[in-house]
Assembly symmetry: C2
Homo-oligomer: 132 residues x 2
DNA sequence: TTGCGATCTTTACAGTTGTAGAGTAGTCTC
DNA sequence: GAGACTACTCTACAACTGTAAAGATCGCAA
């Protein structure tokens, strides 16, 4: 259930982001879509994508002479992996100290803080609602 | 002021953690300290540490025939880098959605939630106190 | 049928990361 | 002063990551 921890590299994040948005899509599409952010040639993108298939991050389906890619991990899974990595490395896996750190070291407007507060309160109400 | 973004690798985190705790310390100390967690030989640890010096993550001072290492980045800086990396990769750099994700996807006890809530409230009071 | 454009395949290469063996040098002890 | 320790230096190597050129293919238009 713990949706095993996927760890994507920088380039992989860049690519899977586009795939999520255009799924199913071909390599040239991804390359064009990323053209502004990274100056990657078609070759580069294609190589990266094929490696991601090998790793189980994407899947392919060949239709005639075109290869369509789909994501094999959801955004949620990928995010979870990223957060977990950061948490274990930098905070010994403990969430609360991390939150504390964020609050201390990032400049949040009062509006943002208020948003968070209400988010938490809502969550607590919900939790309490279903016991526990 | 934005304490430039340091990005440490897994192994580097492991090592700098020990250095922070024993600073200033010699390579063999670090190796011994990590013996249980990672089965790294002295060679491995030393190589890693020297690379960290080259990268500016640690500094050295030679005393007679012993080399003492010190951290060149604080825990706060390292944490900040790690959080920033995760934020940009997985959340387009936006903090609030990240917080939201954490609240949704991690199971926090009511006590933890309460802790967070009060942390935020305290922060808001403080901020309001000094205007802004 | 012939060349052209779009796409895919193969191969490569440099830099980083994890891992460590082998050899060298200073120090302590008998 | 010779061996045993301890710590250091040098070198290596495989996997992974970013990056891409060169060549092979296939369908279409002239």
């Amino acid at each position: 259930m713990t949706t095993k921890g996927y760890e994507l590299t920088e380039a992989e994040w860049e690519i899977i982001q586009v795939v999520w948005a255009h799924e199913p899509c071909a390599a040239p599409t991804v390359q064009e879509e990323l053209e502004d952010r990274r100056q990657w040639t078609y070759s580069t993108v294609k190589t990266l994508m094929d490696r991601m298939v090998a790793k189980g991050l994407l899947t392919t389906e060949r239709i005639r002479n075109l290869i369509l890619y789909r994501s094999a991990v959801t955004q949620k899974q990928a995010r979870k992996g990223e957060v977990a990595r950061m948490l274990t490395r930098a905070f010994g896996g403990a969430l609360t100290p991390m939150m504390q750190f964020l609050l201390e070291s990032h400049t949040l407007s009062d509006a943002e803080l208020a948003g968070l507060e209400s988010m938490i309160r809502k969550k607590r109400r919900r939790e309490r609602g279903r016991g526990e």
